[in-house]
Symmetry: C2
Amino acid sequence: MSTIVSVDTRDIRFPTSLSLDGSDAMNPDPDYSAAYLVIRTDAADGLAGHAFVFTIGRGNDVQVAALETLRGHLVGRDVEELLADMGAASRLLTHDSQLRWLGPEKGVMHMAIGAAVNALWDLRAKRAGQPLWAHLSQLAPEELVSLVDFRYLSDALTPAEALAILRAAEPGRAARHAELLELGFPAYTTTPGWLGYSDEKLDRLCREAVADGFPQIKLKVGADLEADRRRLAIARRAVGDDFPIAIDANQRWDVADAIAWVNALSEFRPAWIEEPTSPDDILGHAAIARGVAPVRVATGEHVQNRIVFKQLLQAGGMQVMQIDATRVGGVNENIANLLLAAKFGVPVCPHAGGVGLCEAVQHLSMFDFVAVSGSMDGRMIEYVDHLHEHFVSPTLVARGRYLAPTAPGAGTEMHASSIEEFAWRGVHAGAGA
Amino acid sequence: MSTIVSVDTRDIRFPTSLSLDGSDAMNPDPDYSAAYLVIRTDAADGLAGHAFVFTIGRGNDVQVAALETLRGHLVGRDVEELLADMGAASRLLTHDSQLRWLGPEKGVMHMAIGAAVNALWDLRAKRAGQPLWAHLSQLAPEELVSLVDFRYLSDALTPAEALAILRAAEPGRAARHAELLELGFPAYTTTPGWLGYSDEKLDRLCREAVADGFPQIKLKVGADLEADRRRLAIARRAVGDDFPIAIDANQRWDVADAIAWVNALSEFRPAWIEEPTSPDDILGHAAIARGVAPVRVATGEHVQNRIVFKQLLQAGGMQVMQIDATRVGGVNENIANLLLAAKFGVPVCPHAGGVGLCEAVQHLSMFDFVAVSGSMDGRMIEYVDHLHEHFVSPTLVARGRYLAPTAPGAGTEMHASSIEEFAWRGVHAGAGA
């Protein structure tokens, strides 16, 4: 038996605004940051659970403050008991009635709970000696169902339906596990498409993306229609007629604007339009989806919880689900999201980039492939080549595919040296004292 | 010319869990709390802007941390310039692209921004020597429109439509202002209906509510159907056949459960069912509204922003809008909500209670009456007789009506002595050291 002895938090910020990496129509100068959490135990194995919430700079301290409030729920707990019933562990945090008032199940407090849940999963997978994706993929369908909070879902997905989805995928698990280890999982790249880049850099990065074997690229749009048309023309020339180019407006538009703008780009045949409007606007997404068809609507990186994902699916407002590893209530709520997507037949193409999002979310897509949807068709994980060097088990992408991680854990542990170097002291590392 | 010189924050918590005041199906033991903010200037008038976010205990420190992040946007600013364009002031805070990532426009960060906006309004009304409701009610329709962020609203409400609503209400402003001063605004009381109270206390408080002149009472439901039927029977006997009794489930149910439960209570003719399910579930509210008609669905105290209110109206999921003074982005976003309600012809009956919510939200209902909807029909403000003594200008309710406040400001300033006494020190005031 072992006990949780500490919950340590850190405010970590990378000065990415200095290079305009990550610039888009709504986020002109992000400083990729992590509100970081380590759960330590008194076990002899010395293993700790690491996780974080990704933010883009200011307010990372608020996110850290939210992580701090969870210490009282965790320190002193029996580790084996907690890890043996991760559904209960998740509910313990999500259903704190006082903390719930701060959401409910959304924003700063919900993301903090998600990080704590993810840290427990990192610890559990490390103890099992398995990468998280493989660990999740060999759980019994009944245990997987027990991880999901079905509250507010039963009009779209019942526990019995979830169980049926998971059981249907059970026979092929071993073959798909082997396929993942051999071939990896498709990636697409957003690296060419940031708004802050010059036309020449855009052209060069598009050609490099194709040469590198990526099956899709993505361009940021929404700041200036003529510039979008120019940049899409450059990209289309660079990648050729049949290569998928997704576009991403980062919530820039109202409904009518979205429809008009996307239709004004239709000659470039976008693979999807991502975040055309507010992530809260379910009915707006549905109206946009009708107005821009056959272009598909993709969203999810800012979708606050399973309840909004449920409605986006019910309303026909989302043809591609883009889960994020640190936006919702952790692995558990993302399993709910994967099951909802499977129920509605919508592919999951996770949001990644930032810091550590690639490392974290690849486990969820690989689990989806092995044990939920059972398919790679139309599925791919976003990839941006930023800041991977700060992770103990960095994402490996080759020939346009994520290689399946083999190191135990959830991929969310940073190097101690990176944590020290980029710990926020009120001024950016490298910007002078 | 004057300048903002400080933004002070405090973590204030009242030990209400000790008496079970405020207990309901989702919140068994709330400690009514305020993350409190004071904006001070170097002006000779010595006036300061006070506001707060209401929470129910744990996590109030996270909310204070969020208030702290706004200091950099406020300290050093020209006060007159800021107060002269409150639309710009609100956008300055809401559109900080890095802080926006923590929502967007929801949860801890959005509520903090709302408190800062409200503190500026408190200061502006104090400088004008007017209670906030009267101050807002004499603004030109054009200025009121300039306060609203129409982003994500234009498919339901355009600036031109908002202007038309406000202009239509302009001729009757003076008469309604006088009517308010003479008669006040209807209140309903939730005091009888907390789940923690005995049947005898319920019966007595119901009779007292009628005797006190309240036009409606509200009972908490949703924990136990048989107990709800017993309590509603007691209440119905106590208040008589024709007296309105609203019921409130505090988000307890999934869609099918909500419909079945409310229909099982239909013989008691509830005036509305409040928060039947997740505040995020727009389509769920719409299904419930169809399933329980003619009982109306009321919601809003946990609705995160104008975008969700817009959809609840579009989908027919909400027949009574219950705005909250400290949940959304402050007075500005609540003006958007009032305009949306007016556009869709839905009455606004604000959520109140907690600590300071009655003091704050009465100004919005009174402004709604004078300058937006122009009507008291079906409108009333929730009233709970808790903790008013801690405010410099406490709510005055008599004969079931809120008396129109006459003191300058937004009603949100607490006594310095209360702030000191209930400042959180890790243990409740009065609970021993």
